[in-house]
């Protein structure tokens, strides 16, 4: 699954990510695309705060894994 947030400003990428994960099972992974400069620091903080995993990949690409409900 790809959540495309290119061109969207903070906090929209994180809000759309949370919506996309809401009905998914634990262990579900997706790719988030975002070119917002706040996304790199904020995805790390989001993962820490919510207990999920986020990893920066290639340019504007983040691998997200749901680890908690």
């Amino acid at each position: 699954m790809i959540v495309d947030c290119l061109g969207k400003r903070c906090p929209l990428p994180i809000i759309e990510l949370a919506k996309a994960l809401a009905d998914k099972p634990i262990g579900f992974s997706l790719t988030l695309l975002s070119d917002d400069p706040a996304s790199a620091p904020d995805l790390i903080a989001w993962a820490r705060m919510t207990g999920n995993a986020a990893e920066a990949g290639e340019l504007n690409t983040f691998q997200i894994t749901k680890l908690t409900d």
């Binding site: 906090p11 400069p37 620091p41 903080a45 919510t50």
Partner: protein, 350 residues
């Protein structure tokens, strides 16, 4: 004149002592204090008194003090003046952007702070010129470490004001008059007698900055620092309690919040997940509360706060609160309820 709008922005109102005296200061301090006329002599006396006042509150010699009409010029004077061939500039990733700008043109190394905002100064050498921020102006984090045995030490005291003293081995230091509720547009740049410093600005005589800096504003700032320091003795405990109250309230009443580690009692930074900071700050302003923000959407350059990012903290939905001497428990109680309500509204609007 007392404003009824509770202000949690970083800029304080001019201290009452300075505000009342200001018209009289302008009447007395109009002449050029460097000339020989009768009026100039009395202006020179005022300037000397102001120097002595600052020297006693800042813990430096009065002849080490220079006044700046553009406070942030002090970053360039303080750092670039210490750097020469063979030296390396060392700074941290929570330093001010003004420091980053100076590092661009020098051999330099940026140190990364720990999660708690602390810098490890153990790897420094005797050819290093170090930038030391006593207190971070966004989060209030106080730097515990002190660089030892370095070539030069610039101290950024713009956020700490009179709250934290200089380390003994300081070379240059910078304060901003607004940190003691003095007028804006006045900086104090101190140059230690022991510093190996060369003026980085074009100059022909011994002057450090072109000047002239406004004498009335210098005198007003001296009045402010005297009164502010006296107030602080009585009000520091209140501010510390308010800081704890705000932190407790946010962490127990507003879910998905990320509060920066603290230090100085007058500063708090908190971020809220899924919140647009511009919307939050505007909604709070509509309800009568002024706050600052480090989020990208509220910044002129659309970049998130480099300080929050360096600390691994959430940069979206960020607000920064400054607790002033005039802040009351009632202001804070009412504000926190509005804040909680407004964060919920901002989240619901998505």
């Amino acid at each position: 004149m007392v404003s009824i709008t509770p202000n949690f922005q970083s800029e304080p109102r001019l201290h009452e002592a300075a505000r009342i005296a200001l018209p009289h200061i302008f009447e007395a301090a109009w002449p050029d204090s460097s000339k020989l006329g009768i009026d100039s002599k009395s202006a020179a006396l005022l300037l000397n008194e102001a120097r002595e006042t600052f020297a006693s509150h800042l813990g430096i010699r009065s002849d080490e003090i220079n006044f700046l009409g553009e406070p942030n010029l002090g970053f360039h004077l303080g750092l670039s003046g210490l750097i020469s061939a063979g030296k390396r500039m060392v700074y941290s990733n929570v330093d001010r952007m003004e420091v980053f700008a100076i590092a661009e043109n020098q051999p330099s190394e940026m140190l990364s702070v720990s999660k708690g905002g602390q810098i490890d100064f153990s790897g420094l050498t005797s050819s290093d010129v170090v930038s030391l921020q006593l207190c971070n102006r966004e989060t209030g984090i106080i730097q515990a470490g002190r660089p030892e045995n370095v070539n030069g030490l610039f101290v950024d005291a713009t956020a700490s004001g009179t709250r934290i003293g200089l380390p003994e081995n300081w070379s240059t230091a910078l304060w901003d008059s607004t940190s003691w509720a003095g007028p804006s547009g006045i900086g104090i740049f101190a140059l230690s007698k022991k510093a190996n410093w060369k003026n980085p600005l074009p100059h022909l005589d011994g002057r450090i900055n072109p000047g002239p800096t406004s004498l009335p504003l210098i005198v007003a700032s001296a009045l402010a620092i005297d009164s502010w320091v006296a107030d602080e003795k009585n009000l520091a405990a209140k501010i510390s309690t308010i800081n704890g109250d705000i932190r407790n309230y946010i962490s127990s009443n507003i879910p998905d919040s990320d509060i920066a580690p603290g230090g100085a009692d007058h500063l708090i930074s908190a971020s809220f997940l899924y919140v647009n900071a511009e919307q939050l700050v505007t909604a709070l302003a509509d309800k009568g509360y002024s706050v600052d923000s480090g989020s990208a959407c509220s910044a002129a350059n659309m970049q998130p706060s480099h300080v929050l990012a360096a600390l691994g903290l959430l940069t979206q939905g960020n607000i920064r609160l400054t607790i002033h001497h005039a802040t009351t428990f009632d202001d804070v109680k009412a504000f926190l309820e509005i804040l909680s309500q407004t964060v919920t509204e901002c989240r619901g609007a998505k």
